[in-house]
Homo-oligomer: 652 residues x 2
């Protein structure tokens, strides 16, 4: 009888799991259908992520107020005689042994909530799910779909915004929030501890920008490519910075009695942790990317696209696990793995695998992102430990505004001192405006909601995500028009606009002038890296580039011969054509959110390339290759959705 | 301090999780690379699944004997004062509350094993993982990639083998094993209870055949298509039958004192459960398939392939969850959902989505299958409750041999009475030989390993899977040659072999003769269904078929006009061409394991179709459509791997 009851209970629990997962799937299905309707009717004031949140909110309300509050099958208190914590418990129930596993600590005040509502608990995911299952495909996809040409042209500025900017923003928001917390203490609004480190952690969490909505609209309207590159590059890298930054803040553990006072040793240890984790994760991602490139280069795996795709998927995933197993940050490793895979491995894949891998990660990314956003909507009502403090929330909104302003404008000023193509005021305003928060901020905030301060931070983050996604998402098109930012830009042939200081390179001018400009524009560090990459890394890791036998010193002859792909020798005459193929295929990686989902047929790329670039190739130095890379047509496949007739085009 | 220790412990546990997942991923990576090597060198004596098992075995040995036996952080005995079982425990450890969740019962003799080795426990998955995560993509893929033409031509025989055959096999194996158990009791080899229902359950578990290896080799060698259809169809449906059969046997619970005696009421209840679960799951799968077809037909979702693919994926997955939530069998529902999606929804998808969905499920299927097989290898050493009984194992091997013989030969004899194209002796021997066991048997066996009898059954199943996969996998090519089964068959134009009683339809004979034969061949039930499908379902659910306004009675005029796709009216003249497009695209679904991974370019199909079928179309009755469907070219894209020069071709 007892056995039967247990079985029935397990079955019931399994059924409830199915129902809660089904809820999310139906939510996503509904979102997809509405997205289609919006796209079909060209509704642009609400992005799909905003929509997913709204549906999540509605379902959250229904679950919260519509389902009966079941008294849990929990056993509230027992076994208090032990003084050590175990990960597994064996419980003897009338002669039978049952195994229990540790789920986590519950703060004593919340014990009653635990037994409140079974359904609410079922739809509440373990925060680890976000970090280990949902974020990796999103981040990998971001790395894998990086528009390389514009990204590398603005690399210096992007790195500055991502590293310096995020640090500045984190510090400023942290300090402002500490002021708010002090104020709350004075007014008596704070009922529990809130330390300075908590404020800094909040700064790190909320500094991760995620302008997915803005970028989707940019893509749809073909807005300025350099602004797109700056925003996209910043947001991708700043996720990585924010995540490592928050880990280092958590790792800040002063030794003395007062564990929340400043301690120089602990501070420098935290800085060390930041540098260690970041560079370790970076290395880890780059190394697996390189290993995948080598494997796909030296085996003829491309004859079997299924095997190739599976290998690619597994290697990319193993980056994440490897980094986690070594104590680094898997998400950051996956980002750099994605960039490496796009830069090297992608060239070695068969045409079929290229489209397969792109589409696979595109679908995973789409599902994961919409899931996170609808979960956010749901969490507003189903999460059981919300602490909404009006003062803190208002303070936070002001702080993120000031924090973003305090890094965009000064940094842009400093960068403009060194940049040939200045970042105009309009661009700065647009970057300022695009600082909305999304999936990463949410995942970081939900990671630890054990204490009072963390719960308040989580609730505030949720509200910030809602409002920035809705308001900024809806306001992007008017803002673009108001700031006079060019839309309908064809990244291939646009002439440099006369009234804009942000000059675009590919003019119709003669070759020498173009090279000259390219040289001036690129920093020496970037040029150094580029020539190293072009002369050594590309030939070693891919089938393209000059043969190593010509670039390596003669005493490495044997190694050079072994490492150089036979294709390079075979096609040495057509080398330049091939190289440009790869460049174009790289550019082809552009995967978009909007109407312009790019068709998988990469085969049309090379032909266009050969025709358009045919006349220019006269020598094969890395200089010229660099110039080609930077100037080469990005080959944006036109979408099958119609280009919208937009009021902006009258203004332009 | 305590808090820190808990955090450290959680971190350590997370790291170990990563390491164990990483182990599996590296295992799969290794398998993929070796598969490539084998394919590259045309090694055919070992299939990839066999290979995955061998690697699993090796890693299992290393984990078992190579890692130190850590003393677990478990707490062996406590809290024995309670008399009720709870799914959640709250434990008070020095003032802090921790939540524990129930994992399952542990037999008292195994308590010491539990604390044996952390690493071994980490790599041991929850059996639910197999049922809820790994099996669905495998089964869905099987349904989605069904070769429709040959499948439907042999539908009667396939259903007979799958339903009657599995039931017979289950009953015979169950009874033989009961004899073996009796014998073991006599000799004193049995140390615990082993009931008749356990034996029947073993019969059901082990009756699920999985000739993945055989089919892969068939595909590679282009062996006879009808034999392929029989084997594939049987194995796909018999998985569904076996899973429902085992559930009904578990549900067999006599009411009286002696819970393992025969009870007519309980028996009929079990039969009712079987019929209920099977038809319920079937309905569930068909309904979601139909809903997806309607959604994709009546929205213009195909303009956005990403949305379409995501919707398709979610709807197919929701079938599984819906069935589980309703108490049916998700895996079975997913199978029929796959068949419905392939038959209807596939026609509504955009060209891009067709290849996307195929490739997505192909990759998922490939990864899941290889994961299960390598896990099987691992489980032989890491599973901690093995009971190997030589008598039982030998008995089981004899029983599965006899069980398969007792359904293949008599059923084939009976079927041949009604079949126009007899199933020859050679085919029967080949079917007999191909009865190897795989993923489904393993998943069913690992589902419940709580009792002595189930543990013995699990260990035996594992050994049976190993030996059948290795021996049958390696012996398929010699067997084909020995049984004189045609290889290198081109399913499109093969002339009927003169010496074989299994005549193939597509001859060069005149139209009337062909139709005649087709009519004779098809059973009336099938013809009824076909005309219903062609006249009503296809026009309602897809863009093909005759307009409903012509097939429905005139009083349904309004509904007919609403439901008929505008495309049908627009293209009414080109209707037949379009229809044949779809047929060919259906045939194109053939996704293979071997060298012949078919390229995703469905676009070449229609052209061939239009040319090859052009002359024949004169009227559009469902009769002729049926004939076209059955006779139409299957359009097998030739692989890029070379066709092997095989000794068989000398014999033929």
């Amino acid at each position: 009888m007892e056995e039967l009851a247990t079985e029935k209970e397990a079955e019931e629990s399994h059924r409830q799991d199915s129902v809660s997962l089904l809820t999310f799937i139906l939510l996503l299905t509904l979102t997809i259908l509405t997205i289609w309707l919006f796209k079909h009717r060209r509704v642009r004031f609400l992005h799909e992520t905003g929509l997913a949140m709204i549906y999540g909110l509605i379902v959250g309300v229904i679950l919260r107020y519509g389902t009966p509050s079941t008294s849990g099958r929990d056993k509230p208190i027992s076994c208090s005689q032990e003084d050590r914590l175990f990960t597994t418990l064996l419980v003897n129930v009338s002669g039978k042994f049952f195994e229990y596993t540790l789920k986590g600590e519950i703060s004593p005040g919340k014990i009653h909530n635990v037994e409140q509502n079974d359904m609410l608990r079922k739809v509440t995911f373990d925060p680890e799910v976000f970090f280990n299952i949902l974020l990796p495909p999103i981040i990998f996809h971001a790395g894998y779909s990086l528009k390389k040409r514009h990204f590398f042209r603005n690399l210096g500025s992007i790195l500055a915004y991502a590293f310096l900017g995020t640090a500045v923003s984190c510090f400023i928001i942290g300090n402002l929030m500490y002021g708010v917390v002090k104020l709350m203490k004075l007014v008596g609004q704070l009922s529990d501890k809130f330390y300075y480190t908590d404020c800094l952690l909040f700064g790190a969490i909320i500094s991760a920008t995620d302008p997915v909505t803005v970028l989707a609209i940019f893509n749809e309207l073909h807005a300025d490519v350099d602004l797109y590159a700056l925003l996209f590059g910043e947001s991708v890298l700043n996720d990585a910075v924010a995540i490592v930054l928050s880990s280092s803040i958590v790792a800040y553990q002063p030794t003395g009695e007062n564990t929340h006072a400043f301690d120089a040793a602990a501070f420098f240890k935290s800085v060390g942790v930041f540098l260690g984790i970041f560079s370790g994760s970076f290395m880890m991602g780059a190394v697996t990317g390189v290993v995948t490139a080598l494997v796909t280069k030296f085996t003829k795996l491309h004859c079997f696209p299924l095997l190739e795709t599976a290998l690619f998927f597994l290697m990319s995933w193993s980056t994440f696990l490897l980094a986690e197993a070594c104590g680094f940050t898997g998400v950051v490793a996956v980002l750099f793995c994605g960039i490496t895979q796009a830069h090297y491995t992608y060239n070695n894949l068969s045409v079929e695998s290229r489209s397969r891998t792109k589409q696979l990660f595109e679908v995973l990314h789409f599902l994961a992102e919409n899931f996170i956003f609808s979960y956010m909507g749901l969490a507003l009502f189903t999460f059981q430990k919300h602490i909404f403090s009006p003062v803190f929330i208002i303070g936070a909104f002001i702080a993120i505004f000031l924090g973003r302003a305090a890094h965009i404008y000064p940094l842009s000023f400093l960068l403009n001192l060194g940049r040939r193509h200045k970042i105009s005021w309009n661009f700065q305003h647009m970057m300022m405006f695009s600082g909305l928060r999304g999936a990463m901020a949410f995942a970081l905030a939900i990671r630890d909601t054990a204490t009072y301060s963390h719960q308040m931070m989580f609730s505030t983050t949720l509200l910030i995500v809602f409002f920035t996604v809705w308001i900024v998402g809806g306001g992007t098109t008017p803002m673009l028009s108001w700031l006079n930012i060019r839309v309908g830009v064809d990244p291939d042939q646009d002439p440099p606009p006369t009234n804009d200081s942000f000059q675009v390179l590919q003019g119709d001018g003669p070759d020498s002038e173009r090279r000259n400009r390219t040289q001036q524009e690129s920093a020496w560090l970037f040029r150094l890296w580029y020539s190293f990459d072009h002369n050594y890394l590309k030939p070693i890791l891919t089938h393209s580039g000059p043969p190593l036998t010509t670039t390596l010193p003669s005493w490495c002859g044997l190694i050079a011969r072994c490492l150089t792909s036979p294709q390079v020798y075979d096609n040495q005459e057509q080398l330049r054509e091939e190289d440009s193929d790869f460049i174009l295929n790289d550019g082809d990686l552009t995967v978009t959110y909007g109407d312009t989902t790019i068709t998988a047929n990469g085969s049309s790329g090379p032909h266009t390339a050969t025709t358009s670039l045919d006349g220019r190739r006269t020598k094969s130095s890395s200089e010229e290759a660099l110039e080609r890379d930077l100037g080469a047509a990005d080959h944006e496949v036109t979408s099958r959705g119609t280009r919208l007739v937009f009021p902006l085009e009258d203004n332009a």
